[in-house]
Symmetry: C2
Subunit: 224 residues, 2 copies
């Protein structure tokens, strides 16, 4: 989450709740400290307790992250961008909280997936988020064709992402392998000043200059 556009992406009450907590489970401690500074957390940052939960965290280390919660304390879960547990760490912690009957309260924040879908004009009555797409060329082309076919059959918008430095390659593969009539929405740098959300049919994308997606967080939305 950007620490520079808080009033743009977080409701005031969510900021208040964060200001009232002194223990956080975070994806990245440095960014979390920066965020708490930006929202003017009333406590000195050195008095705030941080534990880390990210993709390198071993499953066996998750239970002890719940110790304070089991003792009755409120603890915040903070992820880098997007929402905890959605294309980000956190789900295993929430799952364990449910097993221990600890209340999990979601807070409103920006989700590039939902913001993209909302702005895309594609079907929001039925959609699938697939996560990261295959990296290897042949597997990726096969996956794209499956995605397109499934989307056409179910009239279901398919959302997927790629590691940002490979976005341009993914876009080229989509244009080379999908049907001209298929609709593609490219949603790039959502909620940043150069936000770009454009939907066109594949044949129209092929006739336009392509946007520069290199190293920019991008969601691809496809409707066959």
């Amino acid at each position: 989450m950007g620490a520079d556009n808080i009033s743009q992406v977080l409701p005031a009450d969510v900021v208040s709740i964060a200001q009232g907590l002194d223990e956080f489970i975070v994806e990245n401690e440095k960014t979390a400290r920066h965020f708490l500074g930006a929202i003017k957390h009333p406590k000195a940052i050195r008095d705030i307790e941080f534990s880390t939960l990210n993709k390198r965290t071993d499953d066996k280390d998750i239970p002890k992250l719940l110790d304070s919660l089991v003792a009755g304390k409120d603890v915040g879960l903070m992820s880098e961008a997007g929402c905890p547990g959605i294309a980000d760490p956190g789900a295993k912690l929430a799952a364990l909280a449910h097993k221990k009957s600890i209340r999990v309260a979601p807070l409103v924040g920006p989700s590039s997936l939902l913001l993209s879908l909302m702005a895309s004009g594609l079907n929001g009555q039925r959609f699938t988020f697939l996560g990261y797409i295959a990296v290897e060329k042949a597997a990726r082309v096969k996956e794209l064709k499956t995605i397109e076919h499934k989307s056409k059959i179910h009239k279901e918008t398919q959302l997927f992402i790629e590691t940002p430095f490979r976005n341009q390659h993914l876009l080229e593969d989509i244009l080379a392998n999908c049907d001209g009539e298929t609709e593609l929405c490219i949603a790039c740098n959502i909620s940043l000043p150069d936000e770009f959300v454009v939907t066109k049919r594949i044949r129209a994308w092929k006739q336009t200059e392509l946007p520069d997606l290199h190293k920019k967080p991008t969601v691809f939305l496809l409707l066959g």
Copy 2:
């Protein structure tokens, strides 16, 4: 959207943007007027222009909703609950805006789908929103079995909804027809004071007193 908990669900900048618009396309005019009153819109409500876009709007009436946008004016799109275009009207308008090269800018707000998924502890790396589930008993049971099977194969969380007065029946059908090991999250009245988000295996739900979901907006999340 509740007009009573704005600071809980909308960032200040989103409220400012709404305060700066004097033309809105809305799902329900009465609620929209109430909302603009609640955010203290600087203009007299009678000087604000409303057009309606809801499930009764004929597709042929959508193009003229874009007239002001085509003329270069900013227009807000407001839906009742949740996000425009996602399980709510708006997608066809956004689609037409893209065709006319009008910028569509999504604003952060609450989505019961995303908030439920975030709090569920179920897989948020891959998920599908299916919309409303079949009403007729035999079709519904068949659909539930398909959903569960697909979820198990792809490790994909399946989200679905029902007309609120039929929630209790849907819950009974899920418990009667899904596997004991399948995980079910019930997310009810999200972002309201009596918010309830609980995840358990089907066999555990069968052993507990069931929550009262009657006429309460509820998202069902299933992971086989």
